[in-house]
């Protein structure tokens, strides 16, 4: 019987993966290259801003005077169906980003607490998928044989899977409970193979290099080889892939919350805020515009940062 390589086998050959696994690059050189680009500075600045906003959300809402669950009936016009008073969705000195129609809840407070949810979920999912992906990817790449067979088949299965619709089905069936935790688990179950595939491919090519052979010859144990010879050579790739997966998880979380299977009210989430703004889009456009803009800028910043990081790490090395 003829064996024909599948799509995966073709793509993992040399130039298949966009990330090269060269030697560990000097962090200082990468930072120096990155600092030259204004796009990187802007995106790093915005990420810092969002992070501060998320961490200091209780403090900020204390300053602004309105919590995320506080109703303000005086900010909306009950005679006009609950449309916010004043132009631009009620933006003003009391409510910095305006208020929700009908309830009059402060949008700034909900954005800040939404940032908390968004970052918490996406960063946790990234950490978890990176951990699982690196462990299983190195196992598969380093040991080969049946370990590789089992892990690779599992990856093929998960990646050939319509993950979004399945996540929706799974989340809609799961009982209420700790939604953010469930989201992290569900995102991670479908997310780790992307990291594992790249790590596996690079481990496979690294383990035949001379320096690994030299380490073997000098009597190093397998564990030592994995941690001292193979993994340090993968840090660049792992960092780039992890950075680039954050915006993906932010977007997916927002999408799931938009569809009503993610974070449940009253907890604020950007996707859910946009969903509740859909019936109001014609009369109060600021209601969807503010969370939408924050979502867009956050995803954009992480993507730009990751793109530049990937370039800096690639070119910073003697290939």
């Amino acid at each position: 019987m003829t064996t024909m390589p599948t799509q995966l086998a073709v793509e993992t050959e040399e130039k298949g993966s966009p990330f090269s696994g060269g030697g560990p690059s000097s962090a200082r050189r990468v930072i120096r290259t990155m600092r030259k680009s204004p796009a990187v500075l802007f995106s790093a600045g915005f990420i810092a801003l969002i992070t501060i906003m998320a961490i200091a959300a209780p403090l900020l809402t204390h300053l602004s005077g309105w919590g995320p669950y506080e109703y303000d009936p005086s900010a909306v016009n009950a005679d006009l169906g609950g449309i916010p008073n004043g132009p631009l969705g009620g933006i003003g000195p009391t409510h910095w980003f305006g208020v929700e129609p009908q309830s009059g809840r402060d949008i700034f407070a909900r954005i800040a607490f939404g940032a908390q949810v968004s970052l918490l979920i996406s960063v946790s999912a990234t950490l978890l998928t990176t951990f699982i992906g690196v462990v299983l990817g190195t196992l598969a790449g380093f040991y080969g044989g049946w370990v590789d067979q089992v892990i690779s088949r599992l990856m093929d299965f998960l990646m050939a899977f319509p993950s979004l619709i399945f996540m929706i089905a799974l989340l809609s069936a799961l009982p209420a409970g700790n939604r953010p935790f469930l989201l992290v688990v569900v995102l991670s179950v479908f997310g780790w193979p992307y990291m594992a595939r790249v790590v596996r491919g690079q481990t496979m090519s690294l383990k035949n290099r001379e320096f690994v052979e030299a380490a073997y010859a000098s009597g190093a144990s397998r564990v030592r080889i994995v941690f001292r010879e193979v993994l340090p050579n993968l840090t660049g790739t792992i960092i780039v892939m992890a950075t680039l997966s954050v915006p993906g998880y932010i977007g997916t979380e927002a999408g799931l919350s938009f569809l009503g299977v993610g974070v449940t009210p009253p907890t604020a989430s950007w996707g859910q805020m946009i969903a509740s703004a859909v019936p109001w889009y014609a009369t109060d456009p600021m209601y969807f515009f503010v969370p939408g803009l924050f979502l867009f800028l956050t995803v954009l910043s992480f993507t730009v940062f990751g793109d530049h990081l990937s370039k800096a790490i690639d070119t910073g090395e003697a290939r």
């Binding site: 064996t3 793509e11 319509p162 979004l164 069936a173 009982p175 889009y281 014609a282 867009f296 993507t303």
Partner: protein, 330 residues
């Protein structure tokens, strides 16, 4: 080759079996009792038992799964005697909400989803690939930078956000487009086109951005290869070099991606259909999530999985046709 195809088809059967098993597990183990849901407000224990009997949910797990599977291939009959309801061959049960056959509900809405998917796919292939090509050929110029900036925006903008902005600007403010609905092509072709143009654009924007970035990266990779230098050194005109030698290896990975993306859309563009109020499979799924209508969610999940898994195989086979290197390896 025939052996390979046979093995892949067997793989499809296994994956689909696993998918249906997992989906069934999720709904069997995690969901609230369907009998209670159907029974509604005017309910008593005897009535619940009766519904359980009729649905067959009082049987053990594996028996139920077997009934579900055989229902898809051979149809099944709910209940016994006078109360028996027959559900013909591809049977995926009845909606808890409307009591309609789930398969009928999906087939009625499939044309809308196909229209959305096909229109968007045409747009995003045209725009994405040509933008990627231009960027790669004119790499480093303002053309390239502009296109890539646009593409960066496209992959970062959530499609429901673009959808709302477009609707607000074009429908509410400028009033150049009517409020979107789901019209028939035969009745009013212009209205039909006006209703679909926004969903197509919104869907295509994200995908086109992704494809432009990918095309650019692939073409740049190919342009740096040795055979490109050889072709140019032979004195071939640069357009011919591009068309004959660069395009094919750069576009094959895109074919793979396209197969998967398009198949995924056939299972319903949940968000886009919901925002624009298009009555497709995606909106059906989104609505069913809200009402916890398990048979419908399950059926849409299975259908989407079916499309994606089949597309995966078709694409792999096509890959062997398009990329001679894959054939040589065997």
């Amino acid at each position: 080759m025939p052996g390979y195809i046979l093995r892949r088809l067997l793989g499809v059967a296994v994956i689909l079996f696993l998918v249906s098993f997992l989906t069934f597990c999720i709904f069997f183990l995690l969901s609230p009792d369907p009998a209670v849901m159907i029974c509604g407000k005017t309910c008593n224990p005897a009535r619940i038992d009766q519904i359980r009997e009729q649905l067959g949910v009082n049987q053990p797990f594996l028996a139920q799964f077997w009934q579900f599977l055989s229902g898809i291939f051979a149809g099944r009959t709910y209940g016994e005697g006078a109360a028996a309801i027959h559900c013909a061959a591809p049977c995926l049960g009845f909606s808890f909400q409307t009591n309609q056959s789930v398969v009928d509900m999906i087939t009625a809405r499939l044309p809308v989803s196909v229209t959305v998917a096909v229109g968007a796919a045409v747009l995003w292939l045209l725009i994405g690939i040509s933008a990627g090509l231009v960027s790669a050929i004119k790499a480093g110029t303002w053309w390239d930078k502009g296109a890539m900036m646009f593409a960066l925006g496209g992959i970062s903008l959530p499609n429901y956000f673009i959808a709302l902005v477009l609707q607000y600007v074009l429908v509410v403010q400028l009033q150049v487009l009517p409020f979107p609905s789901t019209p028939d092509f035969g009745e009013d072709p212009l209205f039909w086109f006006q209703s679909y143009i926004m969903p197509w654009t919104v869907l295509a924007f994200g995908y086109a951005s992704m494809y432009a970035r990918l095309t650019r990266a692939n073409v740049l990779d190919t342009l740096g290869e040795n055979f490109m230098r050889t072709a140019r050194a032979k004195g071939l005109p640069s357009l011919l070099v591009l068309r004959r030698h660069a395009l094919r290896p750069s576009l094959t990975p895109i074919v793979t991606l396209f197969g998967m993306d398009f198949a995924g859309l056939l299972g319903g563009a949940l968000i886009t259909e919901t925002v624009f109020g298009l009555n497709g499979v995606g909106k059906l799924a989104a609505d069913s999530i809200g009402k916890n209508d398990q048979p419908v969610i399950m059926a849409v999940t299975l259908m989407a999985a079916f499309f994606v898994v089949v597309a995966n195989v078709v694409v792999d086979l096509l890959y062997a046709v398009l990329d001679p290197r894959v054939r040589v390896k065997s």
